[in-house]
């Protein structure tokens, strides 16, 4: 019997005693040790604590207790989620060496479910970027082609799953930071409904948009992880009381009679190879019994612009606390104001500074209504347009990203080109809706292409049913 490689397989084997959690974790650590030098997915590998935790899970199994649905499953965590006593850097010099005194809610929930954290993964600094090139600690490579980016900002977590280091990982998604790298790395990535997963302990980028979600090698594994981390948290005031129904049951449900929406006024700009796979996804779902319907979401196209006012505005405030006074990086200077300037000039990278400046400007007296205020109105418009579309369709389909993974450095000097990577993913964040990227074959140069499934708020079950149907269709084509 071969050792299981999926999260569900590992957990089942560990719970039944046919495989030890120690072995599962050891395997993961071995792979990381052997190959992460080439990929650069991890910023910290927590080998020692992972081995201890795995041993504890095995002891629990031996004593007859159930360590939970993710028993012994090695998992990687994007390095912007607080882990007690384990460095949490946000890939920024600003937080280099900072040790959180507490665990994020998702971390506690993963531990309760029996998962074992094997390390913290690379990201664009403070989750700002679409290629993981903005990390202060090095570039992560796409496991499908190491000359290319893994996408971002959760590039490390996407690459860790794509490279087979771990079956599952966590990322955070503010404008596409889970789905876009999932698409570029050929793995499943889910951004849940806003409020479904607690943000407590997630280092904030843009609080009204940030949401934690899983990466996985398959849809069913993503469902198990999402169920483990979701649920109301009184520690997060924006947490919703009842997230969504059971996801495991949704996976095999199928799409018979389901209405899958095609957005007729979707912004153009996707490469032909991506468009081809996207069209193939409609065909596959139609073959599986879904009805393909046309819908309009006119405000979709304004999402990017609204996002680049709202997200930087919130970021400018969220990142103001990194002032060198209480923790993190500090550059000595003759007085307090000079210390602030020196610390922030040295501690933040270029993209972070760009967004802080954008956001500060957008919130300034005299500009607030024209920028932040208007962007919030666009946001409402997008939500309204989606609501109308969902009276005709159960889910919507778009490409995840306009292109396959691009060469490292190709867009580094062109922020606008980089921002366009998130054209299709941003509107779901603005509306607070769930969306997931499912790998659907390959495009140019044999690189993965992802298809995005969008659903209304707390529509995760339907979304997973569609994602799983796409996955089955791909399996059948292989």
């Amino acid at each position: 019997m071969s050792t299981p490689s999926t999260a569900i397989g590992i957990a089942a084997a560990v719970r039944s005693g046919s495989m030890s959690a120690v072995d599962a974790v050891e395997q993961s650590l071995e792979r990381i040790g052997a190959s992460d030098g080439d990929i650069g997915a991890f910023l910290t590998v927590t080998a020692s604590s992972a081995r201890d935790e795995a041993a504890a899970i095995d002891a629990a199994v031996a004593s007859g207790s159930d360590p939970g649905p993710l028993a012994g499953v090695p998992i990687a965590i994007k390095d912007n989620m607080c882990t007690r006593g384990i460095p949490t850097t946000c890939a920024s010099r600003m937080l280099d060496g900072w040790l959180p005194p507490y665990d994020a809610t998702v971390i506690s929930r993963l531990r309760t479910a029996g998962a074992v954290i094997v390390g913290k993964t690379n990201l664009d600094e403070f989750a700002m970027g679409s290629s993981t090139e903005n990390s202060a600690f090095g570039v992560t490579k796409n496991p499908h082609d190491p000359t290319r980016v893994p996408g971002g900002s959760s590039g490390g977590s996407a690459a860790a799953v794509a490279a087979g280091f771990v079956p599952v990982s966590l990322g955070s998604d503010t404008g596409g930071s889970i789905r876009q790298p999932a698409g570029l790395c050929g793995v499943v990535g889910v951004k849940p409904t806003y409020g479904a997963v607690s943000r407590l302990g997630l280092v904030a980028f843009a609080s009204s948009l940030d949401q934690i979600g899983p990466f996985a090698g398959n849809v069913a594994d993503a469902a198990v992880v999402l169920e483990a981390i979701a649920g109301h948290d009184p520690g997060d005031s924006t947490s919703i009381p009842e997230p969504f129904g059971p996801l495991g049951a949704a996976v095999p449900r199928g799409v018979e009679g389901m209405r899958v929406g095609r957005i007729t006024d979707l912004p153009a700009g996707a490469d032909p190879d991506v468009t081809e796979r996207f069209e193939a996804a409609f065909d596959a779902l139609a073959d599986a019994g879904a009805d393909i319907v046309d819908v309009e979401v006119p405000a979709f196209t304004y999402g990017l612009t609204a996002y680049y006012l709202i997200a930087p505005a919130e970021a400018s405030s969220n990142l103001a606390r990194y002032d060198g006074v209480r923790y993190g990086h500090r550059v000595a200077a003759p007085d307090t104001d000079a210390m602030y300037v020196a610390t922030r000039t040295d501690g933040f990278g270029a993209e972070v500074k760009r967004r802080i400046l954008l956001g500060t400007y957008a919130l300034s007296a005299g500009y607030y209504d024209a920028y932040y205020g208007k962007a919030q109105r666009v946001r409402r418009l997008i939500a309204d347009d989606f609501a109308r579309a969902y009276t005709h369709a159960d889910v919507l389909l778009t490409p995840t990203a306009p292109t396959v993974a691009f060469e490292i450095g190709a867009k580094s000097d062109d922020p606008l080109a980089m921002y366009l990577c998130d054209t299709y993913t941003i509107p779901s964040n603005l509306a607070g809706h769930p969306a997931m990227s499912v790998p659907f074959g390959t495009g140019a140069d044999g690189l993965p292409v992802g298809v995005q499934v969008l659903a209304p708020a707390v529509g995760e079950a339907t979304m997973f049913a569609v994602g799983a149907a796409l996955e089955r269709a791909m399996g059948a084509q292989r």
């Binding site: 607080c82 959180p100 943000r199 904030a204 505005a313 606390r321």
Partner: protein, 477 residues
């Protein structure tokens, strides 16, 4: 009617911003204790320190106390939004303060002064306090200091900022507004409102103008640490502004610091280069939307307010009521006790004076049973003991935590003097103080003091002063 302040043809316009710390067990957005006076940095947590990933959770009790304040001031309590006020300062952990901006909890209230003048209350909103900086060396300010120590115990403590309309026209009114506000806050249990300890802080916006002119340029005065200083600071600032204008100069909009030592205000910073706070709704919090039922609940739980209680006490004590004693006793929350003493048949006005004078340190509910004080007041009213003796006996009652005043009087040998003894003492006094007696007979009423004093001394305080005066009056006529 309080008199309007005028100086060289100018009048003043004052609005007050009062910050009060709410009397909650924990902070506005975290579970750390809201407590004053402990070692530095013991009441802290990730939220208080603004650690990465920390999130605020609104304290329900703070909202309730905030609404209580609003309702006591006749405000409309409304759906409200928390906003971030962004600025850098070392004792501001997140580099933004969570406050309320365009949608505060309470709007449109009023506070009535004793003469019936109504001062408008524009808003009363919730916000969090900052930490406390101590700047070492230099002037005690951050600029030029050698270093700074920060105590975050206070960071995140719930505050309500009560903003008056610019309806105040004199330092006296400002003082009365603050005193009355303080009395209300204490009465409703929202805050201990101690200016000296900083749990109540008052900033004054002061401008001057000639009557009928539009509002002048205002300055904001900070660092006022007592009600008395408030009056002085407003007066000094208004005079400074008048002097500037009459000298042909103009007032610059500024924040100014009151210096208790030299009795002047000093410029802190110009509003021209003031920070742009970039307020926006805090995305970590959701709007608080009070239901009509909740507002009714909070309103119905409001205790009677000081003005109403003062009126009730004054009615109880009758025409003899001492206004100042009424104020003081209500402020200390001892009016219910006075009323209880009166239910035992004692003279309420007399009981009021005893409570005011004897129970200053004893808090709201004196330890002496109301029935015992009632018995003492009855003895005094009947002339069984003198006012001076009654005071002494009340001291004994307080020391013993109660007792039978008649028995205590007997122990001390306090017995009412018979009329014969008293007449003899008065005769002796007239004989001993012939000058005073002559002056008194010539119509100089003040001279009576020496004669009464003589009697009191000779009787070692046992004589009833009132009875002595009455005898002297009848002798003169």
């Amino acid at each position: 009617m309080t008199e309007r302040w005028t100086y060289e043809g100018f009048e003043m316009v004052v609005g007050l911003e009062v910050h009060v710390e709410l009397d909650t067990a924990t902070k506005l957005f975290s579970g750390s204790a809201n407590r004053f006076g402990d070692d530095p940095n013991v009441h802290i947590d990730p939220v208080t320190l603004g650690l990465p990933g920390a999130l605020p959770v609104l304290n329900a009790r703070a909202v309730e106390l905030g609404a209580r304040i609003g309702l006591a001031l006749g405000c409309t309590v409304q759906a409200c939004v928390f906003a971030r006020k962004n600025y850098f300062y070392p004792d501001m952990p997140k580099a933004y303060q969570i406050s309320q901006y365009d949608k505060p909890l309470n709007i449109d209230g009023r506070l009535a002064l004793s003469d019936g003048t109504v001062i408008g209350v524009e808003r009363a909103h919730l916000e969090e306090d900052t930490g406390k900086s101590t700047h070492l060396g230099g002037s005690g300010r951050i600029h030029g200091s050698e270093g700074s120590l920060i105590d975050f115990n206070r960071a995140g403590v719930p505050l309500v900022e009560i903003v008056s309309r610019p309806d105040i026209v004199s330092p006296d009114q400002a003082r009365e507004y603050v005193s009355e506000l303080r009395a209300i806050l204490v009465a409703i249990g929202a805050s201990d409102a101690r200016m000296e300890e900083g749990s109540m802080r008052v900033d004054a916006n002061v401008s001057v103008r000639r009557p009928g002119e539009p509002l002048g340029t205002r300055c904001e005065i900070k660092n006022v640490n007592s009600v008395r200083s408030l009056g002085r600071a407003i007066d000094a600032e208004a005079r400074r502004q008048v002097a500037l204008i009459t000298a042909g100069e103009s007032v610059v909009q500024q924040t100014r610091h009151w210096d208790e030592g030299d009795g002047r205000t000093h410029a802190l910073r110009s509003k021209e280069d003031a920070d742009d706070y970039r307020y926006f709704p805090d995305p970590d919090l959701v709007p608080f939307v009070p239901s009509a039922e909740w507002i009714d609940e909070v309103r119905s739980a409001l205790p009677p307010l000081p003005a109403k209680r003062r009126a009730a006490l004054a009615v109880l004590c009758g025409v003899a009521a001492d206004t100042e004693a009424v104020m003081t006793v209500v402020e200390r929350g001892q009016d219910a006790y006075v009323a209880e003493v009166a239910t035992h048949g004692a003279d309420a006005a007399r009981a009021l004076v005893h409570v005011k004078e004897a129970f200053a340190e004893l808090g709201a509910r004196p330890r002496v049973p109301a029935s015992d004080l009632a018995a003492l007041v009855a003895m005094e009213s009947s002339g069984a003991v003198t006012a001076t003796q009654a005071k002494t006996l009340l001291g004994d009652l307080i020391d013993a935590g109660g007792g039978d005043p008649a028995a205590l009087a007997a122990q001390r040998g306090f017995e009412a003097m018979d009329d014969g003894e008293l007449v003899a003492l008065v005769d002796a006094a007239i004989a001993a103080e012939p000058d005073a007696w002559q002056k008194y007979c010539a119509g100089e009423d003040k001279a009576m003091g020496a004669l009464v004093g003589h009697v009191m001394k000779a009787s070692r305080g046992q004589a009833d002063g009132k009875a002595v005066s009455a005898l002297l009056v009848s002798r003169r006529s």
